[in-house]
Amino acid sequence: MTEYIVKESNLTEFFQAVSQNRTLLSPVGQGEKCRLEPTTPDKIKLDFANTHLSPKASFFPQTERLLAFHKDKSLPNSNVYQDLGDKAQDCVLFGLRPCDAKGLTVANKVFQNDRFVDPYWKGKYEKALKIGLACLKPSPQCFCAAVGGSPFGEQGLDVLAYVKEGGLGLKTLTEAGEALIKSTKAESASLSNEIQKLEQEAYGLQKAEKDSYKVITERDLMEVYNDPHWPFTAENCLNCGVCTFFCPTCHCFDIQDEQSEKGGVRMRNWDTCMSSLFTLHASGHNPRPTKVERVRQRFMHKLKYIPIKQDGVFGCTGCGRCVVMCPVNIDIRDVAAKMCRPTQTAKV
């Protein structure tokens, strides 16, 4: 839509303006402590790589209480679950990396699918204005280009910001984003040439080639599924599920009830397809009994199933968290490369 600049000296004022009547969330802390948290306009960081945990935690917390009931027979509705509702408040997120913003859109299509709308997700997702921060210096593990993303990607964002000489450059992407920036003292400017130039530079700094995994979406599903490399790809795996906990698009959860003598609560907790319990039937039958099926499930889901359901968009956004976090170095880039071509022989 339109482009603006904010001078370095006006940054605090700018963040004050965008967070008027809203909570401001932005990455705080260093290294593994870097996370998306409520913060104040004067503490905004521009020099982080990315948050340790993905921002999905702000929309889909590790534990979320959905319903509750009481057991007091003297009151109405005893033993009947009541909606705890979604307590989302208007907020503005500053500093989402484009890969993570795209990840949220992938999860959003699952939480608001063709038949059902998850009210807990929807409330939080739609009450958040999202200002992205483009990546000028991708980390060594980044590969957004390979999965159809860009260091200046715009999906899922209301405004895309980038650090430029003497301040911030802004590009508004939605009506809401435009209205938000208009309400500040940001000065309009023409930045498209600069953005294009910087985007190309940032692409160049990534090791990944553009769209190099696209061929996976074109291959036959069962052929990819039956490739002989899977047992060897999975051999290292500890089934710890760290990859799924850190993934910006992994959205699987478990629903659990807990109760005391006074009442109870139904909540959902992050779950992981790496756990054998995830698919275990009460009868004892398990459709994915060993780690080979479970590891395959994760990669197939990211790179084959989600593209089928979401018009070719990968369920992996190239943020590289799983690459770094995996204790046994199962690198999704290597696996994706294997999934790109038929493998005749199984190799390590």
Binding site: L67, V80, V110, V117, D118, L221, M222, F253, I255, P287
Partner: protein, 279 residues
């Protein structure tokens, strides 16, 4: 906004113990709030989450037909945590039902066709519902010949026997009941379901099959059906997988890109043939 996680409050109206081993019970539920029955609009083949406060939820196929007003039926096999707890509950207890979930059998698409319904063991529930629904005067005329083949390990394990005995007397449905093994007092068909299907199955012309049962039953019956000339497109199975949300979100029931809860549980064999066998 309508919250798909929130169950309708229901009261257990009646519990029937179905088998000698007391592992199968049929629960009859009534909605607590007037108006909820209207909202709970379903067709046979769909399922619902039985929600026991403080214990959890289990996805169970709906055994009653929407043509039976005023109540819902579910047959529950005692296996895990929630089903065991449910078996200890009493008529009058309050709990919840969340649904309806999933897709029903493709009744609309199959109008004008002959239908063969094959059930093995307690998988009969949603098929019984389909039978009741099809025999309703409002629907019966839309379909050709209807055959119902139902077998179980023993006569005492045949559920809803009263319904089937009544149907045997009707001339707009052919009912074949069988016991997998000989039993005292059983004068009906005897034999493993696939063998019985081989003997009594009507011709495949202009016909579709609903098939439910244990995996081994499905496997062998499917072979028999294919030999008899049925096409993969015309054989409909109802799958089950571990489920939590039932809304196509929580991610555990998927078979390839399809969610059993949201996109199923009814799939044709043709639809399943291009998918991993993760069910």
């Amino acid at each position: 906004m309508n919250n798909p996680y929130l169950p309708y409050p229901v009261r257990i109206a009646e519990i029937t113990v179905n088998d000698d081993e007391r592992n199968l019970r049929t629960f009859k539920f009534e909605f607590l709030n007037p108006g909820d029955e209207e909202k709970f609009s379903y067709l046979p083949g769909q399922f619902a989450e039985l929600s026991v406060p403080g214990q959890g939820e289990i996805p169970i196929g709906i055994a009653s037909s929407p043509t039976e007003k005023g109540y819902l039926l579910f047959t529950v096999n005692r296996t895990g945590h929630v089903s065991t707890f449910l078996h200890y509950m009493k008529p009058g207890d309050v709990m919840g039902i969340r649904g309806p979930l999933g897709h029903p059998y493709p009744f609309e698409k199959l109008k004008g066709k002959n239908l063969v319904i094959i059930a093995g063991g307690f998988a009969v529930t949603t098929l019984r519902a389909a039978g009741v629904w099809l025999l309703d005067p409002a629907n019966r005329a839309n379909y050709g010949k209807i055959s119902f083949i139902y077998g179980a390990r023993g006569p005492s394990l045949l559920l809803f026997l009263d319904d089937f005995k009544a149907w045997e007397k009707r001339d707009d449905i052919d009912v074949f009941l069988c016991s997998y093994k000989e039993a005292k007092g059983w004068d009906g068909l005897v034999g493993f379901l696939p063998e019985v299907v081989k003997k009594v199955c009507p011709p495949a012309d202009n016909a579709a099959v609903f098939l439910c049962g244990a995996p081994v039953v499905i496997k062998f019956t499917q072979t028999v059906l294919l030999e008899a000339g049925f096409k993969n497109e015309d054989i409909f199975l109802s799958l089950e997988n571990r489920m939590k949300c039932g809304l196509g979100i929580c991610g555990r029931c998927n078979v390839g890109p399809e969610y059993v809860c949201k996109d199923g549980p009814v799939f044709s064999v043709a639809e399943l043939s291009g998918l991993p066998r993760e069910y």
